[in-house]
Amino acid sequence: MVEFREAIVTALDEELAANENVVFFGEDVAEPGGVFKATPGLRKKHGDRVFDTPISELALTGAAFGSAVTGLRPVIEIMFGDFMPLAMDSLVNQSAKYWFISNEQQSVPLVVRSAIGAGSRLGAVHSQTPVPWFLGVPGLKIVCPSTPNDARALLKAAIRDDNPVLFFEHKRLYSLKGEVDDDPVELGTARVMREGADLTIVSAMVGVHVALEAAEALARDGIEAEVIDLRTLRPLDHAAVAASLARTGHLLVVEEGPRTGGWSATVAAEIAEGSLHDIDDLWRLTTPDLPIPFSPALEDAFLPGAERLAAAVRSRLVSRSG
């Protein structure tokens, strides 16, 4: 069994060893080994290809861009996803557009790792999930693993990908343990985590575990939920969702993020447009359109949990069948 954070450092270690053009830098990542202890030992093993930077998100993202179009394959860490607005110009206006507007002279092989997500009592600006901010930016890939195995395989795939990839690590997953194998995983592919005939629940990251827990509770009531882990949110594997919906007829999309403008809305729209005849029901469970609150009493109520999810499914199925 391997911890999620070990899977991260293993992937980085293996890719640094495999390709001398891979470099890794960020705030407190080298000597200190990362504030989430996800990168210890890399500096010692790989020397000056792993280094600490000033607290300058724009500079380190810009430097990653400039180095990626001139021969390196940089991996950087933005300590918290909430800091990504500081790096926005370089990611959105430089990295994301270069391949297309250069008339395909050169792509931008860079990876931005960042710790994201709520539930750690860190308040409004250390808990967000930055996916919606980047969802509407062509040229970016957004990867959101839920298991140690996917964390390792997808981070390796991200580093080998020739395009800019945002790789989000949910803070509440770092201590999760799981089996790890050597099979590669392709970016942009969803995975069925649990089969079921009665409805499809689609999520990512912590939401997948919430959905699996809810599915077990629902099974005790005779409701069999299929759970799909999207794993990559851009590009998003709509085909996998549509295929499951064709079997179950009911689709629930669970997103840790605001109701307005999120990836769950995109899934709902794509499915509504492409699979209308398969839909008996389609709805979303998200967080409210509010900043993330600090107090545990508020934050726990804010996040979509397994009990609430199971209750929502029960009442929805009853109301629809009644």
């Binding site: 400039g66 179009v69 500081l86 110009d89 430089q94 507007i101 002279q105 050169q106 020739d162």
Partner: protein, 322 residues
């Protein structure tokens, strides 16, 4: 007293400045006829910066420019016809018509890109310097930017980043006295050179209307960066003879200021040195002017006849490589 060097070298620099000047005037003329879509930012008056710096660069070096980037593109050897065709939105443009005036990219000619966002060039060159340092072949990255950029986050963050990592980069600040429509002193505290000096980056000022002076200072700075002395900073004192962009008549200029600067037109300065100091026959310089004039006439015709891009590419192109 600046050493003018051989007459041939200066005549060559004169020829290349004349190409930029005539190119810009052609773009302006075509713009007024409605043939150049969108907007343009011309560098008329600032030709000596582009040619002086490019004359100090070698094959391993890289340069990032701004949205006022036609001059550096031509100085680096970007095909003038392909550059003009890009302005005209043609398929034969250097970026296939995908980029336009503000975002020209030509890696095969050492141009990492021209960046439409103020400060973007600084990030690109800083990152390229990271690559060049790792590659160990002595390459130096150059960032062109205007004095208005020194109030941007990119400037503060990247200069420190480059200095602590001792990157081989030249920060080339073209001080044309106006950030868009606003005089430098109205919106900027202190002097340009104080900022790099505060970080310990060697910084000097040069007459940006004298191509020989710019070349000599650039050669020194690039040489020090190449020799491992870390980032270097040069401020050129220059002036744009035209508005910031298409819609700007330059009403903010002080009375008589433009006329005063035009007396020191970089082409006039270079011509005087050629004829008065180096004994070049004025007829020889006139012949260069005629030769470039003829080239520009041909380019104009070819550009207007060049094919437009096929909209079918929008369905065929991918936002990603691979």
């Amino acid at each position: 007293m600046v050493d003018s060097g051989p007459a041939d070298a200066l005549l060559d620099m004169y020829r290349r400045m004349r190409l930029i000047r005539d190119f810009e005037e052609l773009v302006q003329a075509l713009f007024l006829k409605g043939e150049v879509p969108g907007t343009t930012h011309l560098c008329i008056g600032q030709e000596a910066d582009a040619i002086g710096v490019a004359s100090a660069l070698g094959d391993e070096d890289r340069l990032a420019g701004t949205y006022r980037g036609h001059g550096v593109a031509l100085a680096l050897g970007v095909d003038p016809q392909a550059l003009l065709d890009e302005m005209l939105g043609r398929a034969t443009g250097v970026c296939g018509g995908r980029a336009g005036s503000m975002n020209v990219i030509d890696l095969s000619n050492r141009l990492i890109g021209c960046f439409g966002i103020v400060g973007g060039s600084i990030a690109a060159a800083t990152g390229a310097a990271l690559s060049l340092k790792r590659q160990g072949r002595g390459g130096v990255a150059v960032a062109f930017f205007g004095e208005g950029t020194i109030n941007q986050g990119y400037f503060a963050e990247c200069l420190n980043f480059a200095q602590v990592l001792s990157l081989p980069v030249l920060y080339l600040c073209e001080n044309n006295r106006y950030g868009e429509f606003t005089p430098y002193e109205d919106v900027t505290a202190g002097e340009v050179l104080d900022r790099p000096r505060t970080l310990g980056i060697p910084a000097e000022q040069v007459d940006g209307m004298d191509v020989v002076a710019v070349r000599d200072v650039a050669e020194g700075a690039v040489g020090r960066a190449r020799d491992g002395e870390g980032p270097q900073f040069v401020e050129t004192l220059t002036y744009r003879f035209v508005g910031h962009s298409r819609a700007d008549p330059g009403a903010y200029r002080k009375q008589g200021e433009l006329e005063e600067w035009k007396l020191r037109d970089p082409l006039t300065v270079a011509r005087a040195r050629l004829v008065d100091e180096l004994g070049v026959d004025a007829g020889e310089v006139d012949a260069v002017d005629r030769e470039i004039g003829a080239q520009i006439d041909e380019m104009r015709s070819a550009g207007l006849e060049a094919p437009l891009p096929d909209p079918a590419l929008l369905a065929e192109a991918s936002e990603f490589k691979g």
